[in-house]
Symmetry: C3
Subunit: 204 residues, 3 copies
Amino acid sequence: MTATAEATNANLEQLIEQKLTEMLPRKLEEIEASKTPSMSIIATKGTLDWAYPPFILASTAAALGWDVTIFFTFYGLLLLKKDYDSEAKVSGLGNPAMPMKMPFGPEWFQNIEWPMPNVVMAGIPGFENLATTLMKKTFKNKGVASITELRELCVEAEVKLAACQMTVDVFGFSHDDFIPDCKDYVGAASFLPVAQKSDVCLFI
Amino acid sequence: MTATAEATNANLEQLIEQKLTEMLPRKLEEIEASKTPSMSIIATKGTLDWAYPPFILASTAAALGWDVTIFFTFYGLLLLKKDYDSEAKVSGLGNPAMPMKMPFGPEWFQNIEWPMPNVVMAGIPGFENLATTLMKKTFKNKGVASITELRELCVEAEVKLAACQMTVDVFGFSHDDFIPDCKDYVGAASFLPVAQKSDVCLFI
Amino acid sequence: MTATAEATNANLEQLIEQKLTEMLPRKLEEIEASKTPSMSIIATKGTLDWAYPPFILASTAAALGWDVTIFFTFYGLLLLKKDYDSEAKVSGLGNPAMPMKMPFGPEWFQNIEWPMPNVVMAGIPGFENLATTLMKKTFKNKGVASITELRELCVEAEVKLAACQMTVDVFGFSHDDFIPDCKDYVGAASFLPVAQKSDVCLFI
């Protein structure tokens, strides 16, 4: 190679480096913007109140066009049960006494601010059932779908539902206990690579 | 195009590919390092003990110069209440009986290792109040700020506070119940794009 | 610069942009695929049931070759205690009444579907102990390791264990209470940069 060609190559390399440096941030943003956003959720709780967050977040993200996967494991496996709505109860977990108006009965009764169940009230027999009824009616009156309706919304929006086979084995469930829309029974090892590629991964 | 020009173009393409391959990992790291780190938190619990994690993590990240957003939803909406400190109670959730020394009273009394409330003790009337007092005093004695102080720290550090309008509607709150520092009342659909762009997104 | 040189430069820039656009997505995927996946977990709960998710997820990810860090804070600090297995109890948190078969006793007794503890049953003295025994035996019979065994697996697989020094101070623990495999006692400010670089970050 002649001295002139070498000089030209060095100049060329410098020019290429300079142009790449200049263009790269914009190109990266373009690539990022062209990708379908994705979310994966590890649903681990089975009570009625904690059933709302995974299904509301998943159906909202799916409505925005996101790719969504929910991995149901531990107590969260219950959210896949066919008869979920009739069995689930409110836990009051994380709730120090959330005031809610009673959504039925005479006006004076409705105007009482009922605290949602907290850990002390949970000790009172029957309170859990009252709280469950109260939450269901309030959500219904406010136009929020029931859990099985929200779950159906997720299925229609092509949210992928996967269940933890280890939990199924440990708790002695059978696949027949669950809605047929859950087609994948896998281990954490199969879910983790999905989580790795997700923009958002939540443990609920 | 002449044969020479084609050969030159092929050489040039090769050179560009080579330079790009060489430079890309370093350039990506530079771009990454030049970005402001970001965190988004979905705060869903309202009890005194579970109020600490979102505010401690948010104020710590903000102190490190991170961009932080907290989305208050479900029971977590309570964390925005004006009079939070006087109302909140410890739940003991996730706590099988954490030993704590009593931070007041005579020495023999202080030396008893009091378990923090667990689900069994939660059934004892008055225990929740005792546990709440115990946690507040212990945190204060150890120099940890109260929840409203930590919240104030977050506001000063420009942590963005957003509330879930759907939860406000369902539980029958009014915006007046909450601190004026929360300016955004939005839905999950507005929060998800923030979460997507965050380096860290936590469901607490 | 002569008109010819300018034209050449313009052509060159165009070529660089074209090549970059063409090659970048593939190159980024190559870089991504060559990286070791990573996960960071904030373990905040101390009850026996909620001890499983962090250790199962961490040991599974480590078995897949991931880089894993667990930051133990708040009630989660208890998961590092030397004598964890003999002290921990099931909370039933997030569990509306999970049916489990009794793993011991006569057959008629084993065939009863025992609900796991829920918040109402938690008020019954002795129930928490029964639920704890039931969960331990069931997990053992199904071939799931105990918490200290899972923890040991994590240590052998080089999962990094870090503890929150602030929690240690607030709850009055000493480093001697914990397994020596936890070598880092740090604050949230030290953990956040690890979380930022993780592909998956979970608050458990």
